[in-house]
Amino acid sequence: MFSHLFVAYVFIYVCLGLIGLGIMLLVQMKISHNREQQRREYYEQKHHDYFVYVQAHLGDDAELKLPPGKLKPLERSVIQDKFIEWIEQFKGDYRNRLIRLCREAGFVEADLKALGSFRYGRRLAAAYRLGGMRAEEAVPGLLKMLQKGKYNSISIIIARSIAKAANRPEDLLDMLRSLLSHGKPIHHLAADILLETKLDAGSILLKLLDDPDPGLVKVGLVAMWGQAVPEVMPVLGRLVGAKEKDVRAEAVKLYLSTNPALKDETIVQLMTDRDWEVRAEAAKALGQLHAAGSIPLLVKALQDASWKVRHNSAESLAALGEAGFEALCQAAVTGTGIQREAALHRIGLVMEAEQKHGAIEQMVAYNKKRLIHDRYFGVKQPVKRVTGVAAVGGDYTA
């Protein structure tokens, strides 16, 4: 028993020792954190007037002065943080002037030095701030840092810094390649990072779309949402036929969102694509294009296995004037199963939404549709729909 007890005693003493150490460490950490916080607040107050001065004169042509007096390291870091915060908020000349101010104050130089530090924490902090200060001379060092480390959240931080600082498109491409080299499908995140660049997005996107690496092409496609870049249209047209499923889907989505003039065979091709996302996008686009000739295709698509395709087709039919609406009603009356469900649902929505409109043209349009509706479903008899729990088929891909 006593040898067992001895083990227990050892365990107890070890625990006691660790508890003592832990509490000492805690108190020390808490006090030093709090003190640093207080110092920061004090310095922020001290330099308040200077900060106001900078903000008031950022727009002037004259050079801005550096903060007066000799600064302690923490003081410098408070000022630098403030500058970086502004750089993130402003565009154009204001940003450039602040960047210049960071250089003059020696912040860039100090962080470039810290990038070679032995301590990882310091290196990372420097990398973060160098991105904030848009210091292009740091890019080679940052790229090396990114390529050396294994992929985790920290890689993203470094990549963001590179995107902010880089002055050459090649560096951006290198950064993206390195991010994607780990095989994770992080195209959306990569595109978001890419868009932090100060370079002209259009030419970079064009480069990405022309890249042999499908990963980069996808980043380019994803990044193009919301960016009007006319020069890439021809490339898009080519990518619509791409082999990779997700590249094709993204390209089709983008291509159709620009309301292009579609040839009949292209429409047929898109509506019979293997990928439901492509079909859904095509169905959606047909309504917006007012392509009345595509009504039969859309009616057929009401039977599609994918909920999204059915939904979009019904929506597009409803958008195609009286002819489209009539086709929808017909499908609801003669069709069966999911086709009927999809059509009925949309009809209900249309009838309900249009009742609310006030303008005369809308009233006229509504009454025309109502006429069609009543012809199919009878006067006054409300559309018989299964509401509530009834499901419209099971597809959760969207």
């Binding site: 007037d49 903000q55 008031a56 402003f90 000349d93 204001y94």
Partner: protein
């Protein structure tokens, strides 16, 4: 009116006339003028002139309005930027050397936005003495004319609010700040601003519900709404315009562009 008082008034008026003359004749080139109000130290005049002479190395002049103990400092040859910086140094110096000092400074430069009439000079002196904030204040044309628009700045980010306040004040707008949607709605109702410059992402209430609420407030003139936000989702932007937002600017923003768009709202 008792004689002594009239005399003082004359003297006082005399100071500003005197200043006007000096500015027009002696320093027709460029001259920074700063009004300093700092009760406490007895030797303020010499303290100030000594310090500034050392700092600038040029000939500065300090005059005193005895009735209000406000100092007028002339900084010949300095631009607005330089004058502001000197004011900064001076304020810091006073705060460090004089215990409990609370120096208030208003400054501008002539010839510049305003003409140095006695009225304007006096208005400046008053604004130094009576101004609400201890921040160094730059006197502008719009302030002299004083028929500004009212702008309510709504943002949770202190940095942005501070910048916008400084900038819009310099252009003569009257501003107030709100940190969150709920207090913004209260302020709009009470203060009736002409324009609300807001972030979409706020505490309390935000986004479209916030915009809708503003428009439903029982105020005489619904304020114009300019959105300044991180939110870049296209659908949100178009929804905002549908709900009657006047302009939508995404961060990071160009302050010059912001000025132009706000200006447009006031036309």
């Amino acid at each position: 009116m008792p004689e002594s008082l009239t005399l003082e008034r004359k003297q006082q008026e005399g100071l500003y006339h005197n200043l006007e003359e000096r500015l027009n004749k002696t320093f027709p080139e460029l001259c920074g003028v700063m009004f300093l109000y700092c009760p406490g130290p007895p030797q303020l005049e010499s303290l100030v002139s000594e310090f500034l002479r050392q700092e600038t190395g040029s000939d500065i002049e300090v005059l005193k309005d005895a009735s209000t103990s406000t100092l007028a400092v002339l900084l010949p040859g300095s631009t607005l930027n330089q004058a502001h910086y000197q004011a900064l140094l001076l304020k810091r110096h006073l705060e460090e050397t004089v215990p409990e000092a609370d120096p208030r400074i208003t400054l501008t430069v002539f010839p510049g936005q305003v003409d140095p009439t006695p009225g304007v000079l006096k208005q400046m002196a008053e604004s130094a003495r009576l101004g609400p904030s201890s921040d160094i204040h730059i006197f502008t044309k719009e302030e002299a004319a004083s028929e500004p628009g009212r702008i309510l700045i709504v943002d949770n980010d202190d940095t942005i609010r501070e910048f916008l306040t400084i900038r819009l004040n310099m252009q003569g707008y009257e501003t107030l700040e709100a940190l969150d949607g709920t207090s913004a709605l209260e302020l709009i109702e009470k203060w009736e601003p002409d324009l609300v410059l807001t972030e979409l992402n706020l505490y309390g209430i935000d986004g479209l519900p916030f915009i809708n609420q503003i428009q439903k407030l029982p105020v005489e003139n619904t304020p114009k709404i300019v959105v300044l936000t991180e939110q870049r989702v296209e659908r949100t932007i178009s929804q905002c315009f549908q709900h009657g937002v006047d302009d939508y600017i995404t961060k990071p923003f160009s302050p010059v562009e912001l000025d132009a768009r706000i200006h447009r709202c006031f036309q």
